[in-house]
């Protein structure tokens, strides 16, 4: 795998995520699993700990998780827990989880009880994003840092943390550069390839990820075999997509997926961490306020006696307007995992916002199974026909 470069290496890492992590572990590195987009990776990197994102497997039937988590909760989280129970994450030195959503919070306790990791830490990420919540979050990150220091046997210094922030910001800048290759028509990189790169980045130390990104950017910028032109340019919004199946299905039709708003994509990588004098200040703000997941409630009526719905939508979804404009999006696929409350409540509102922009959208719900793709294909096909009719 090491000889492969660029997109081929990204594809190889995507297909065997744990391979490199296991090599690093064998070489004496510590590897910590993290769930969702809220644990700050920089703090692990600052201690030379490799952060490794916990993901599920859409092709693996959930069997063991049934013994400790009911079936009416997020199928992605159930799948991830299932993999844990099947010892697919046994190479990890521990895990860090956050209160990213209700089910993630509760699954953290279940993970701790049933998998008994050597290291476990839970960050109780606040739900709101005002000044007191940011201050609280900063304190929570400081507490997380202390437990990491005990694990690593060394201290996080201001310098090491700032260096780690620079490395991760570099990665974010490279990701944004890579995404800019999706702006031309046809795009220079497909949605499937992009997701493979994103998953690979979440499986590698940041320095290796940055090298991979530079290779991919170099390769894509000069490629002769870019994806073919398609009739429709789509943006996909919603809950986690960590497997290419859904995108592959869409791109197998007459559509290019040119932009995303999901947490294994732009939502995860877009905002930088501001390099504040005390780096924890920048981290606390970035991970609570700047990451645009609907799990965070943002007050838009401070001081007002009423709430302006349009202004609220603009504050919450305004970035989608920029995505649509800059990536020349013609339609939006709103997708959510079944039982994802965070995204479920959002659907009618994001539809209202997109309607206001004159952007057609379709909502699809799926249960994180390969077999669920066929009926969705028919619906996407019908949506493309609507777009085609203009």
């Amino acid at each position: 795998m090491a000889e492969e470069k660029g997109l081929a290496r990204a594809r190889a890492v995507y297909r065997n995520r744990r391979h490199r992590a296991e090599e690093l572990k064998a070489a004496g590195k510590k590897v910590i699993g993290y769930l969702c987009a809220y644990p700050p990776l920089e703090m692990m990197t600052a201690l030379d700990i490799v952060p490794f994102r916990l993901l599920g497997d859409i092709n693996e039937p959930i069997s063991k998780a049934d013994s400790c988590l009911p079936s009416v909760v997020c199928p992605f989280i159930r799948s991830t827990l299932d993999l844990g129970l099947k010892q697919r994450y046994e190479f990890l030195d521990g895990v860090v989880m956050a209160h990213s959503c209700d089910v993630a919070e509760k699954t953290a306790h279940i993970w701790n009880i049933y998998l008994k990791p050597d290291y476990f830490h839970f960050i109780d990420t606040p739900h709101t994003a005002g000044p007191s919540a940011v201050a609280q979050h900063r304190g929570l990150l400081a507490a997380f840092g202390k437990t990491l220091e005990e694990l690593a046997g060394k201290k996080i210094t201001t310098r090491s943390l700032k260096e780690a922030i620079k490395l991760h910001n570099r990665q974010r800048a490279l990701v944004r550069q890579l995404y800019s290759f999706r702006k031309p028509d046809p795009p220079l990189i497909s949605g499937v390839e992009t997701l493979q790169v994103m998953v690979a980045l979440m499986s590698l130390p940041v320095t290796e990820g940055n090298e991979l990104l530079e290779e991919v950017i170099n390769e894509v910028s000069r490629r002769q075999d870019s994806p073919p032109q398609k009739k429709a340019r789509l943006l996909v919004w919603g809950s986690i997509l960590d497997n290419t199946s859904l995108i592959e299905m869409m791109e197998g039709l007459d559509a290019s997926l040119v932009m995303d708003d999901t947490c294994v994509g732009s939502r995860f990588f877009w905002p930088d961490v501001e390099l504040t004098e005390d780096p924890l200040d920048g981290l606390a703000r970035r991970y609570l306020v700047d990451v645009k997941c609907p799990r965070t409630f943002r007050q838009t009526n401070d001081g007002g006696k009423t709430k302006d719905y349009r202004a609220d939508l603009e504050a919450r979804f305004g970035y989608l307007k920029e995505y649509a404009r800059d990536w020349n999006v013609q339609g939006v696929v709103l997708q959510s995992l079944r039982y994802c409350d965070i995204h479920g409540y959002e659907v009618p509102q994001v539809k209202d916002y997109l309607k206001g922009l004159g952007l057609p959208s379709i909502y699809i719900e799926h249960d994180y199974q390969q077999t669920a793709m066929a009926p969705l294909k028919t619906r996407i096909q019908a949506f493309l026909e609507i777009l085609d009719r203009g």
Binding site: D66, S67, C68, L69, P70, V72, V73, C74, H99, C101, D102, V103, E105, K106, H109, I110, N112, I113, F120, H121, F122, D124, P126, H127, T128, G130, S132, A133, A135, Q136, G139, A143, P294, R295, F297, Q299, N301, D302, G303, G304, K305, T306, K307, D308, Y309, D312, S336, R338, Y339, D341, I342, G344, Y345, E346, V347, P348, Q349, K351, D352, E365
Partner: protein, 444 residues
């Protein structure tokens, strides 16, 4: 001709407590008619309600209204309306009921004529909560589609057991809640154009704690054999505390009357069911409000539900002497409700200190023979922990669990006949584990 006794021996003192909820809806309607502020609130475990009361804001709880609509058979129409508005059907039944109701209200230009209990008037503000589940702020955020009432969301930290017991964590979390409550007061003062009366808040806070201390004492009496108070009486009485349906001083008096009535039952060994108590059970979590008659059938078989739903119980008493700031008292009280079992959970090696661990104490202390789990197909929060709880109860206390799936609002998801068949079979399991516990040296 002798009158046939009902299967469940309802407490007389329950009725005035239940009546407070009717009064809450009436007060909300009156306030709206008089142009006074009305808040739609999420249950916030006594964080924000005392503040609203001190600001003379009438409060109404759409969560309770979901149960009301289910019980009156009005929910289905509202569920259908929310689906038509694009809300996925797997989401919280209470939320979908409220979203559908609100859609209907805005179409009708006022309270829809079919609305039970006189309906909920259009609110001046919304009070959401970050406690326990995401729906309780996402749902209220969604109401922005229908009207322009501003929304405030209260925070209650949910640390892990170990993290919550780390030196300094408790006080840090209290400071955060106090800061948040202070911001809420400022928001209200701006919205309502008047200052908070701190003395009034101080009084309400003291009465709130007093109210819940009596409610706690009531529930402590339920350890007796035979169980003197059935879960149905708990569910009928809990809203008075949970929704602070009236002046808390008045409610404290009613809970005290309930204490006296139960004490008399305990002294005279009077049971909550009119059949010999064969099995003592716990019910987790919310009941099928549309089918409560189901419990009568079980009572006829000697099933006495003696304890239930941790999230709807008051916290164990806490010493707040010396805490002069009422906002800090509220912060400490609510946080104690959530984390009050953490030390014991830690000592027991259990890492889910609320919602899961407390049931180990409940089932042991109330000597339950079995537990009925009611996974809600539209509620993650009331369901996430049930499999874990069943596992721990079996491993640690040799107490079996029965799973009956359903929903709090959507009656189509509950099968009472099938559930009853399962229950009959479960009796053999409970009998078996009685023997197992005896052999293992348990006291019941």
């Amino acid at each position: 001709m002798t009158e046939k006794k009902r299967p469940i021996n309802r407490l007389k003192s329950m009725y005035p407590l239940r009546g407070l909820i009717d009064g809450m809806y009436r007060q909300g309607l009156s306030a709206a008619a008089e142009g006074k502020p009305v808040a739609w609130c999420m249950v916030n475990w006594w964080q924000g309600d005392p503040i609203l009361k001190a600001m003379d804001v009438a409060t109404i709880y759409p969560e309770d209204y979901g149960a009301v609509c289910a019980a009156f058979g009005a929910a289905q129409g509202y569920l259908e309306r929310s689906a038509a508005d694009g809300f996925p059907s797997h989401m919280c039944g209470y939320a979908r009921n409220c979203l559908g109701y609100t859609g209907r209200m805005m179409d009708a230009g006022g309270i829809p004529e079919e609305a039970p209990m006189g309906g909920m008037p259009r609110p001046t503000l919304l009070l959401g909560s970050g406690s326990l589940c995401d729906a309780r702020y996402k749902w209220f955020q969604s109401l922005g589609r229908y009207f322009d009432a501003p929304l405030w969301v209260l925070e209650l930290p949910h640390p892990g057991v170990k993290e919550g017991l780390t030196p300094g964590a408790h006080e840090t979390n209290i400071s955060f809640i106090v800061a948040q409550l202070g911001e809420f007061v400022t928001f209200l003062e701006n919205l309502l154009g008047k200052k908070m009366n701190r003395d009034r808040l101080d009084e309400i806070t003291t009465d709130t704690v007093e109210m819940n201390n009596w409610w706690h004492k009531v529930n402590e009496l339920r350890r007796a054999r035979p169980g003197p108070m059935h879960s149905r009486d708990f569910w009928s009485s809990m809203p008075a505390s949970l929704y602070m349906a009236a002046d808390p001083g008045q409610t404290a008096g009613l809970y005290r009357r309930m204490y006296d009535e139960i004490k008399e039952r305990v002294d005279n060994k009077v049971s909550a069911i009119n059949t010999t108590e064969k099995y003592r059970l716990a019910f987790l979590e919310l009941p099928p409000w549309h089918s409560l008659g189901f419990f009568d059938k079980l009572a006829e078989r000697g099933w006495n539900f003696v304890i239930e739903s941790w999230a709807y119980h008051p916290p164990r008493p806490i010493d707040l002497n010396g805490v002069t700031d009422p906002l800090e008292r509220l912060a400490r009280y609510s946080y104690h409700w959530l984390t009050g079992y953490y030390r014991q959970a830690y000592d027991a090696g259990e890492w889910w200190g609320y919602f899961a661990y407390p049931y180990l104490e409940y089932v042991r202390d109330y000597q339950c023979d079995g537990v009925v789990l009611h996974p809600l197909l539209s509620c993650r929060t009331a369901t996430n922990h049930l499999t874990l709880v069943a596992d721990r109860l079996m491993k640690k206390l040799k107490v079996p669990s029965l799973v009956i799936e359903g929903d709090i609002v959507d009656l189509k998801l509950f099968d009472p006949a099938g559930a009853l068949t399962k229950a009959e079979t479960f009796e053999e399991t409970m009998d078996h584990y009685k023997k197992v516990r005896k052999e293992a040296g348990f006291s019941w």
